[in-house]
């Protein structure tokens, strides 16, 4: 069953069209790796799905309901949660307070403060620390935990490894494994192709706002994705044949 359906989505930043006619459907439990160079439109697409940036045209359907014009604070109540690029934690508030804010939308489910702490045990001793004082890995875990507290049907992860050391990224991805097998539909924006393809069931590569590759992860090689990433070997429709 389709959980998230994106149809011909166009998103603009003023005169600049950042996302051009993007369409895809995701079923429950799908993990989509969204890759592409800087400026390809990945973050804009995710922010548009989360309601932080309203699209110029197209439709976003969640569980059969039209979300296109729904504001961000209501969209999370319907089941879409974003872990934004750069974490965007509330730095004057503690880890626990940040997690509790994730409950603001009022969605009930299996994710509670205790469950987040058991999924991210490195946060337990930092429970009452202000997030401005945390390490990058701890901040990322808190940001993911905050999004999970809304018990989302679709979780949008934007650049979870950005600014983190490789060791910390390993730890964050190890902690994400539980999440990846939990049945939550996930869209993962990631610069590290290897990591993204290792965890994803599907890969979409964007270039200049367009989808230039869309394939099940098992049917595409890293080389093909790399070529699409750099805009090589497009077919007549502008897409890379997979």
């Amino acid at each position: 069953m389709t959980v998230l359906s994106v149809q011909n989505l166009d998103v603009r930043h003023g005169l600049l069209q950042a996302v051009r006619g993007v369409s895809f459907d995701l079923a429950k439990g799908d993990v989509l790796a969204l890759v592409g160079a800087n400026g390809a439109g990945k973050t804009t697409l995710l922010r548009s799905l989360a309601g932080a940036h309203l699209p110029a045209s197209g439709r976003i359907m969640l569980n059969g309901h039209d979300m296109t014009a729904v504001p961000s604070h209501q969209r999370i109540a319907k089941g879409i949660a974003l872990v934004p690029e750069g974490r965007r934690l509330f730095s004057q508030m503690t880890v626990e307070e940040n997690l509790l804010l994730g409950k603001s939308a009022g969605r009930q489910g299996e994710w509670t403060v205790d469950r987040v702490f058991s999924a991210f045990p490195n946060l337990v001793p930092r429970r009452h620390a202000k997030t401005g004082h945390l390490s990058g890995g701890e901040q990322q875990a808190t940001a993911i935990g905050r999004a999970l507290m809304s018990n989302p049907d679709v979780l949008l992860l934007d650049e979870v490894s950005l600014g983190l050391s490789p060791l910390v990224v390993d730890r964050v991805y190890a902690q994400l494994q539980t999440l990846l097998t939990s049945g939550t539909t996930i869209i993962l924006v990631e610069q590290d192709l290897g990591r993204a393809m290792a965890v994803a069931s599907r890969v979409i590569c964007m270039l200049e706002g367009r989808v230039v590759l869309d394939s099940p992860a098992k049917n595409v090689t890293r080389d093909q994705v790399t070529k699409a990433y750099f805009g090589l070997h497009r077919d007549s429709t502008g897409r890379v044949a997979s």
Binding site: P71, H73, I76, Q92, M93, G102, S104, A105, S150
Partner: protein, 308 residues
């Protein structure tokens, strides 16, 4: 001298109450509400009207006036301040300045230039006092004002720290865009914060009317005292508001001991000293709490050490 200090501290309780709403609105919505004093006077007139026309005691009258003030705050935020804030940081200041003029003149048109007071409606509370050892007297109303300030600030502290709505207001104050992404309606949170601020303004208006006289143009001086206390204590800090109020009250009381005209000048002098120190050490006149003082002391210590 001890009597002067005690009276100054208790006067600080009133300044803390009247500063609370100004500081709260600034820290949450980044709006300096120049209609703050006029709204407090309007609340005092509301209580006076209830007392003089219907015989309702000012304390009972608060049950009517405070919800009205809360509704006023909600409406002001949703239909005036929020819209003006879209035009940049300066526009809400001009808007609230204009609002103050409108409120002042409406009150003048309605009530005339006569001074009023709520003191006749609270029995002996306005002049009753307790005698402390050493022959110092403390007014019961002044003590009640200080207790109210502490309860108000403590209550706000608990609300902001322990309740989901309080956390939502803090999150909105820190980053309204991200607040939306975690499911908080930033517009609603701001309107709620404005409603809470106006409730504190209503309480301040009640104490203004009980401890002194007021007229339609009393709002300006009240705004000035609130602004001075907010700058001294740091507008981002609830307890800083109390400290700012007490410092201002002490400065005025001590100033009055130095010279008959020194009451106001003492407060202004301390305000200006702190303002210049803030600008010198941090570059920001309004924001900053204990960190400002730490930075200042560190810089002074470094300057002394580097002096040959």
């Amino acid at each position: 001298m001890i009597d002067t200090l005690i009276q100054g501290i208790l006067l600080g309780g009133y300044y803390a109450v009247i500063t609370c709403g100004l500081s709260f609105m600034f820290s949450v919505m980044r709006i300096i509400n120049l209609a703050h004093g006029s709204l407090a006077v309007a609340a005092a007139y509301g209580l006076w009207l209830l007392a003089s026309k219907f015989g309702i005691s000012p304390f009972t009258g608060l049950l009517i006036v405070l919800p009205v003030m809360a509704a006023t705050g909600w409406v002001l935020q949703r239909y005036l301040l929020e819209r003006s804030a879209r035009g940049g940081a300066l526009l809400p200041i001009l808007t609230t300045f204009g609002l103050a003029i409108v409120i002042d003149n409406l009150m003048f048109e309605q009530f005339g230039a006569d001074t009023r007071s709520l003191a006749p409606f609270i029995g002996s509370l306005s002049y009753d006092s307790w005698e402390l050892p050493g022959g110092t007297y403390v007014g019961k109303l002044a003590v009640m004002t200080m207790a109210t300030a502490i309860a108000l600030l403590g209550g706000l502290q608990v609300f902001l720290g322990r309740f989901a709505l309080g956390r939502a207001i803090r999150a909105t104050a820190e980053d309204p865009d991200t607040a939306g992404l975690v499911g908080i309606d930033a517009r609603k949170a701001n309107a709620l914060a404005a409603a809470i601020a106006m409730v504190t303004v209503g309480i301040a208006g009640a104490f203004l009317g009980m401890r002194a006289t007021f007229d339609p143009y009393s709002g300006g001086p009240q705004l000035l005292f609130a602004f001075e206390a907010a700058v001294i204590g740091g507008a981002g800090s609830l307890w800083g508001t109390l400290v700012g109020g007490i410092v201002l009250g002490l400065a005025q009381s001590l100033g009055a001991q130095v010279h008959p005209q020194g009451f106001l000048i003492g407060g202004h002098a301390v305000f200006l000293a702190v303002l210049f120190a803030r600008l010198f050490f941090t570059g920001a006149p309004f924001i900053g709490k204990i960190g400002f003082y730490k930075t200042g002391f560190t810089k002074i210590r470094a300057a002394i050490r580097s002096t040959p």
